[in-house]
Amino acid sequence: MSAVQILTGNQAAATAVKLCDVQVISAYPITPSTSLTEMLAEWIEKGELKAEYVRVESEHSVMTVCVSASSVGARVFTSTSSHGLLYMHEQLHWAAGSRLPIVTCVINRGVGAPWSIFNDQQDSISQRDTGWIQIYCRDNQEILDSVIQAYRIAEEVYCPVMVCYDGFVLSHTMMPVEIPEAEKVKNFLPPYKPHTILSPEEPLNINPVILPTQRRDAQGVLRDGYMEFRWKLQHALEGSRDVIVEVNRQFADLFGRDHGGMLWGYRTDDAEVYLVGIGSLATEATMAADMLREEGIHAGVVGIRVYRPFPREEIRNVLKNAPAIVIFEKDISYGYEGALSADVKAALYGTGISAPVHNYIAGLGGRDVKAAELAEAVRSSLAAVAGGVMERQTWLNCVTE
């Protein structure tokens, strides 16, 4: 029987890991992800969760353990934040290149220098090009549900998945979360079938040096060169959109909760301005939209649930009649603009959608973002748009002089 418990985001994620029968967990302490893996360690030591727990000496080794354990056919999990994720960077590429269905929770936190333990999304957004699927959650229920979905997606397309959620804002905030029945999760998530089994019965040399060109094997069969492997990863990520949407649909049918496949919308039908965001910032934007509507401004919200693969078609579809677009994000692609803003604009290119796009960088390193501030930013942008300002980048609530 499913039951409702009051859980933090990290507890919700740990609960999902347990429900998914993960076999190998490896982790290294970092705030604010630590309480998640502490909980898993406790369950394992008490015998409530049957899994190997490898307490390594660095995040680089964490992801290495995940890669090799997954290579021999174990379902693996880890979580990290900020510098931990950055320290994994090399191994993130290696995991994706190996086409391993590793699931990692990223509890979003700003990155140094200088040190910040507080929330923004610079850590995971800057890992955008590593070949991982990235899912961003709005609340603790979505964290639990997305971890379960992540294994289904990862093991179907053989790509690793990051389930990202905002540090402290979600990781340490308690909310009611419905815990699905273990049997139901088992039915939803079949056992992991590795694409290759590394065993002495069938010796293979996995991930050796590969040449730029295709090459014949000992039997004369022409095998991929480096670029064909890279294309296959890209093709798999592009193709994973359909899987993500379908997994979300099946999950909704079975568990009664639909988190939106690639993205979600809020009061978008008649919107004259679209607020776009990721994670809890997008949730905040829904409150701003309500405020704006009370004053007669028809505001709607588009929340990006999956950032990679990017919801190109969905963005085009939802914004096709948008009179104005305001993008809020907790990251910055230094020397350009917010990464989401650049990606949304790129998705609109050539579609005939010529709405003004204003970009707000907000909440870096835990700076508080209030719904009223978002609403005020939208009012300011609408005034500027009326004056013909098509593009604008603003650092919200930040001294910029």
């Binding site: 490898v54 080794s61 021999v72 191994q91 590394l198 002495p200 040399n205 094997d217």
Partner: protein, 299 residues
Amino acid sequence: MPEKIFKVNQKEYILPGNRSCQGCGLALAYRYILKALRENTIMTIPASCLTVLHGLYPITSVTVPALNCTFASTAASASGLVAGLAAQNRTEMTVVAMAGDGGTYDIGIQALSGAAERGTDFIYVCYDNEGYMNTGTQRSSATPMGALTTTTPVLTKQQNKKDMMKIMEAHDIPYLATASPSYPIDLYDKFVKAKRIKGTRYIQISAPCPPGWGFAPKDTVKIGRLAVETGMVVLYEIEDGKFRFTGRSKTLAEKGNRAPLIQYVEKQERFRKMNIEQLARLQKWVDGKWNEYLRRAEE
């Protein structure tokens, strides 16, 4: 003890033809390592000369399963294999991580220390060719003092070799050994023994490198022998804390007839800029280590 050669596993695990350099000390050692480890062995290897030996996709020269890993991660990769196999009750497998001295003494030391401290059930093999040979003979912390490398091209390396065996011994692991491909039976026996022991086992192999050290490929075995004859390389094992000379080094310790270091140094191009003062310092370093081993053997 030449009669022991008949006890060696006759099966070959390296196929005829591989991409190692002519006269590669690593290749000689690796053949015996795999013979000793036999079936049910899984290798994990970082970017190194061994990667080159294993061959270019989609062809491999080795018949054991191998997982390539990144440079810094060898021992962590082994830890993941051990955990992944244990989670599926596949405990009959021997997990072996094998890296060069750069991958062990330098970039891989953190992961190795972590795995050893956790008592990970695997064999870690360092094939020590005393430099970054795969990338063209750069200096590593295993390069001996006085050697020319491409990153110490004028003045030679100024520091002594790091004592990796001591570092590994400080982890209180059940078995450590040194070996040389010039003494294959000694090497073979150590791997046969290591395979039977549980926990972290560390074996360091001195791997003479013709292009990196500057000697003719036909002289690999000879150079490896001279290293042992002079005490530059000492064959020993430490089992549950007990030190024991083995093979030729045991004889040298008993008879006290170690050769002067000059006999080893003068045969390699890499030492051509070594001056008398450096040679004396290196001889003193070798003598110091040797005396330490003699004391430990008596304990």
